[in-house]
């Protein structure tokens, strides 16, 4: 090979590796898909199959059973009290935290997150220690004929505790990203505080608010550990839907247990779909502001 030839025959440029070889890509995707299928899809399919194992009529009977309906009603009541409470708190907390700088701000944010770090069993337990018959305020409550533990108030309190941070956690970063120019402009132009809140702030945060409410509601309806501690598990009286599933399962009424569980699966899937739709709107409202 002459020198000239050698100079002309340029070696092909070495392929610069910016992704993995095709077989690696396939293995990674395959491992992920198999893992999710085995851990999530197969178990869910098993629940739905077991729920329908005795036919559609048995399924309909199981979910329209009076005890199941009472459990559904109690679940809805608990969520209907806990979610608005945490919604109002979330708005107040995010206004204070995202719009003002004060000492102890970081600590306050950590304290708001606290219920997420606490085991659900401990969340229920603190209310038993406080209001139970051997608890700090228990005897006093008994003298006045009030029941908190093994009754609706206990279930509502435990549900409120475990869903406490959801709205606030959604709103604080959103309001920080959006900034406060519009609100300040409204104030300068003579709006009252309430007008500013209703006409400027609320429209700006509404999708974030809704996202937080969906998270909060889904968790409120599905909470098990905390509610299990404070409810006496009196069938149909102090059992929510998840507790009712456990009662039926322990009584070997498997088909009925799975039928009620399938309702909770549907609620979970609905919340997931709602979250995906709303998340896109939240992103847009975050970008519009910046």
């Amino acid at each position: 090979m002459s020198l000239l030839e050698r100079a002309v025959i340029v070696p092909p440029p070495r392929r610069v590796a910016l992704t993995e070889p095709a077989w690696v890509r396939r293995v990674v995707i395959g491992a992920g898909v198999v893992f999710l299928t085995l851990f999530v899809l197969v178990p869910l399919a098993a629940v739905l199959t077991a729920a329908l194992s005795h036919g559609a009529a048995a399924y309909a009977r199981s979910i329209s059973d009076p005890a199941a309906l009472r459990a559904l009603k109690l679940t809805l009541i608990a969520a209907a009290i806990a979610v608005p409470l945490n919604l109002v708190f979330g708005v107040a907390a995010s206004w204070a935290i995202a719009r003002f700088r004060f000492r102890g701000r970081a600590l306050l944010i950590t304290l708001i997150d606290l219920p997420l770090a606490v085991s659900p069993v401990i969340a229920g337990m603190v209310f038993v220690l406080l209001f139970g018959s051997h608890g700090l305020l228990g005897p006093w409550l008994q003298d006045h004929g009030w029941r908190v533990i093994f009754a609706l108030p206990g279930i509502v309190l435990a549900t409120t505790f475990v869903t406490f941070p959801f709205v606030a956690r959604e709103l604080i970063p959103l309001m920080e990203a959006q900034g406060s120019e519009e609100e300040e402009a409204a104030m300068v132009l003579g709006a009252s505080g309430w007008q500013m809140f209703v006409r400027i702030t609320l429209p700006k945060i509404k999708w974030g608010l809704l996202y937080g409410v969906v998270l909060c509601t889904a968790r409120a309806m599905g909470e098990f550990g905390a509610v299990s501690v404070v409810s006496g598990n009196v069938r149909g009286r102090t059992s929510t839907l998840p507790l009712h599933v456990e009662i039926l399962y322990n009584e070997y009424e498997y088909q009925a247990a799975f039928a009620v569980a399938s309702l909770l699966v549907l609620i979970g899937i609905a919340s997931l779909l709602a979250r995906r739709v709303i998340a896109a709107r939240v992103d847009r409202s975050r970008q519009e502001a910046t």
Partner: protein, 274 residues
Amino acid sequence: MVRRSALPGFGLSMGYTLVYLSLIVLIPLATLAIKTAELSWGELWTLATSDRALASYRITFGASLIAATINVVFGTLLAWALVRYRFRGKGLIDAIVDMPFALPTAVSGLALTTVLAPTGWIGRFLEPLGITAVFSPLGITLALVFIGLPFVVRTVQPVLEELEPELEEAAAVLGATRWQTLGRVIFPALAPAILTGFALAFARAIGEYGSVVFIAGNKQYETEITPLLIMSRLEEYDYPGATALALVMLLVSFAMLLAINGLGAWTRRRAGHL
């Protein structure tokens, strides 16, 4: 204290926040401190380190540690596939990752127990191999893998999305093989996020109750997790016993919360440098 602001409502919103936080969270949690103060150090130590308690810590923390580690492996793989690769059904896979968050824990526990039981869809293939996946520490670990799954994916995914391709291009142009780029450029950038995901999954796992009780079988000393032991102490009206155990759990949870906050700051710093 408060920087002067043109905006109204600080007093009202702050006051409401503090009152509500105290009523729902702080005062109830303080009850635990009051109940603890009723015990002497000796009593507390005896209750928190009984044989049954120690066995429950071993199971709870051991299974949580293994589960969080499994989540790191599959969570990072999934996040990688979702951000870097295009494949059919990607949107669906992305949605399914959130399923363990969206499902009530009791339903998750019931579902896993059903498929892993010796007659279940997956369990029937495990039984001939001599693997018992229900009423065993393995079952507890699998349930904890399930509920911890989204944490690693959802912490690694955004960091991976923000990673600038220029860095990898530079590494590749300078002659690095793909493995070298992965190991020396991408992994260090992802490490804080992976560790945060691990900590979140672990913190969630140690307190988990609903998804574990169905699959654990709840045999004392063998498959009894600490939250369940607290539950049985409460049912026996053994409040001191429950309090001592809860205190141990809470201390670990607070340590995890602090670690996670610190890791979050590290993640942001790392991302800022890049």
